[in-house]
């Protein structure tokens, strides 16, 4: 126990130099955790938003449905298999019927996906109740997102003509009225899409009781695949694979930032160690004269360097915990063009600091600090006590 006590005494005894080092290193701690927390927060926030507004507990999709092929929509509809119909009746699932259509806002032509959804559904966090309130009129109520509104120039209360083909391929058209422009961070339920009441769409297309996919409520127990009548299940992981891959690719860039911060901190520690070894040669000689072996001197100096990391963690905790907690509460305002990132993260990004992130970063910094502290001390292994006492390096 003598070496840890001495190491602590030595670095605390060094006064301002120690605290300066600890502060510089603590900046790296806080910035690394902050940047990684932003990335984790972005991932978590995007996933939560997508699950709430689009994915739910996963989708059962009609066998002919290919989300990446609009031409598949003509055939991608059918009656719900019995187990899914039971779930829909129980409020544990929401069917969605999707067809291809065209709207003509202000004389322009815009191809859209028309999605029919039950206005009273509670499976997805969408303001579908607006569709219910307006169902009584002759015009078809539609719900659009802000991006769609910006793309089409439509706003709440506007009327726009919608053209579509029914189940037999016959073109039909009718005026629709925008009953609400919803604000959502999930682009995939917004851009190029309009939402209409499910029963109106079934009626318009001659597809009674049919759907393209069924969204399960989160936590709902899904029926066995064999009972799903050929409808295939895509779970949350399938939907989130792309976004996770995107976050993964962004984390590579973040790792460079991480590495630079760590390198800067380690440079400070390395520099301090080299200087300490240079300035304290006579002290090393004295320690050896008093009975320290070279190994003990190396251990002492390495531990002193490592304790810089521990002190830095404490300093980082003093100002980092309140600072990062505040950022986590208030969020980080994002610039207006965040949509182009392809993430469903909204206007503010709320960092997420998991225990794993904080512990992992702390351990990594401490481990690296120890290694960096040890490297310069290898010179001590060649140091002769007599040279050290004269203030020379061997």
């Amino acid at each position: 126990m003598i070496i840890p006590k001495l190491a602590l005494k030595n670095i605390l005894g060094a006064g301002l130099r120690t605290w300066l080092n600890a502060f510089v290193l603590s900046l790296s701690f806080v910035l690394i955790i902050f940047s990684q927390g932003l990335l984790e927060g972005m991932n978590t926030q995007a996933e939560e938003a997508m699950i709430a507004a689009e994915i739910g507990g996963g989708h059962y999709q009609h066998a002919a449905y290919d989300p990446y092929d609009p031409l598949s929509l003509a055939d991608a509809h059918g009656a719900l298999p019995a187990p899914l119909a039971v779930m829909v009746s129980a409020g544990k699932a929401a069917p969605v019927l999707v067809i291809q259509g065209t709207i003509y806002p202000q004389g322009r032509l815009i191809a859209v996906q028309v999605k029919g959804i039950d206005p009273d559904q509670t499976v997805l966090n969408l303001p579908t109740a607006f569709l219910s309130a307006a169902q009584a009129g002759d015009e078809i109520p539609v719900l659009i997102g802000e991006r769609m509104a910006a793309l089409s120039g439509l706003k709440r209360g506007d009327t726009v003509t919608l053209q579509w083909r029914d189940a037999r391929g016959t073109f039909d058209a009718r005026d629709t009225v925008v009953v609400q422009v919803m604000k959502t961070s999930v682009q995939s339920i917004d851009r190029g899409q309009i939402w209409v009441p499910l029963e109106r769409l079934r009626e318009m297309t001659g597809m009674p009781g049919e759907a393209t996919f069924v969204v399960l409520a989160q936590g709902a127990v899904r029926p066995a695949d064999s009972a799903a009548g050929g409808w295939r299940f895509s779970g949350q992981d399938d939907f989130l694979a792309d976004i996770r891959a995107m976050v993964e690719s962004k984390s590579v860039g973040s790792s460079v930032f991480y590495a630079i911060l760590l390198a800067l901190a380690m440079l400070a520690i390395f520099d301090t160690q080299v200087l300490a070894i240079f300035h304290r040669r006579r002290e090393m000689g004295t320690l050896m004269a008093l009975g320290f072996t070279r190994g003990k001197v190396i251990a002492l100096f390495t531990l002193e360097g490592m304790l810089n990391g521990v002190l830095a963690a404490l300093v980082a905790a003093v100002y980092g915990i309140p600072l990062l907690s505040w950022v986590a509460r208030t969020g980080w305002a994002l610039p207006g063009d965040t949509d182009s990132y392809g993430f469903a993260i909204g206007e503010r990004l709320f960092p997420s600091y998991s225990l794993g992130l904080v512990t992992g970063t702390t351990l990594l910094v401490l481990l690296t600090t120890t290694v960096v502290s040890f490297l310069p001390t290898r010179r001590i292994a060649r140091l002769k006590p007599t040279d050290a006492l004269r203030g020379r390096m061997t």
Binding site: I2, L6, K9, N10, L12, G13, A14, R282, E283, G285, T286, M288, A289, L290, G291, F292, T293, R294, G295, K296, K384, P385, T386, L389
Partner: protein, 243 residues
């Protein structure tokens, strides 16, 4: 029955490479020191005094010949064994005091005992006793930077004696002190030698130190020139012991 000497050197030689040549710092030095001696290695700079002291203190190893200290052959010791010998049997006093700057006087003295693994209560007792010996008990909480040269050297003496070593090696202990402090320090060491029986070996060319020595070994160019017993009673210097 004759007591075995604490230190025996036989044909001790130490050479250093210097460009294409080698310089002999010690050349076939054969000496022995008994327990309780108050001896000095004297001679001009470069005569090999410090080198011999370093080898006796197991801080260095000879190129040829042998040095046996407390029954252990210095040239055969591993680093760990040499460190153990220094820790348990040898105390050092340096010209520049070599106190550890971040420690208090008390901690500097205690340091030597920490390595011996003594329990805290025993350490405290010994440290306070050592500080009493050098009349510095009231400066226990001071830092080295707050001490005068004489006080610093007395702390170094306390650090050397606190573990009650068999041998204390003092390399130019008065070189950085004024005459009065030098005499005070030397009287303290002579008193320790007399009362504790600790063997003192000095490396010095300070006449004040030589006055206190009971044995003076003169080295010239790494060889023993003379080895004579002296009375160890300093003449009137005008300096009283005022620690």
């Amino acid at each position: 029955m004759t007591e075995t000497p604490l230190i025996v050197t036989k044909d001790l030689t130490k050479t250093y490479p210097m460009g294409l040549h080698t310089i002999a710092a010690l050349d076939s030095v054969s000496l022995s020191f008994d327990k309780g001696e108050f001896a000095g290695l004297v001679g001009p700079s470069g005569s090999g005094k410090t080198t011999l002291l370093n080898i006796i203190g197991s801080l260095d190893t000879p190129t040829a010949g042998s040095a046996v200290v407390m029954g252990q052959r210095i040239e055969a010791l591993t680093h760990k064994e040499a460190a153990r010998l220094r820790n348990r049997h040898v105390g050092f006093i340096f010209q520049t005091f070599n106190l550890l700057p971040v420690y208090t006087v008390y901690e500097n003295v205690e340091f030597a005992l920490l390595l011996l693994g003594l329990p805290p209560a025993e350490r405290r007792r010994k440290v306070l006793a050592a500080l009493e010996w050098v009349h510095l008990a009231d400066r226990a909480k001071s830092r080295p930077a707050q001490l005068s040269g004489g006080e610093s050297q007395r702390v170094a003496i306390a650090r050397a004696i606190v573990k009650e070593p068999d041998i204390i090696l003092a390399d130019e202990p008065t070189a950085n002190l004024d005459a009065q402090n030098s005499h005070n320090i030397l009287r303290t060491m002579a008193r320790l030698n007399g009362e504790l029986g600790t063997t003192f070996i000095f490396a010095t060319h300070d006449f004040k130190v030589m006055q206190y020595l009971r044995r003076t070994v003169t080295l010239i160019d790494g060889r023993v020139d003379t080895d004579q017993q002296t009375d160890g009673r300093p003449g009137t210097s005008g300096a009283g012991e005022q620690p």
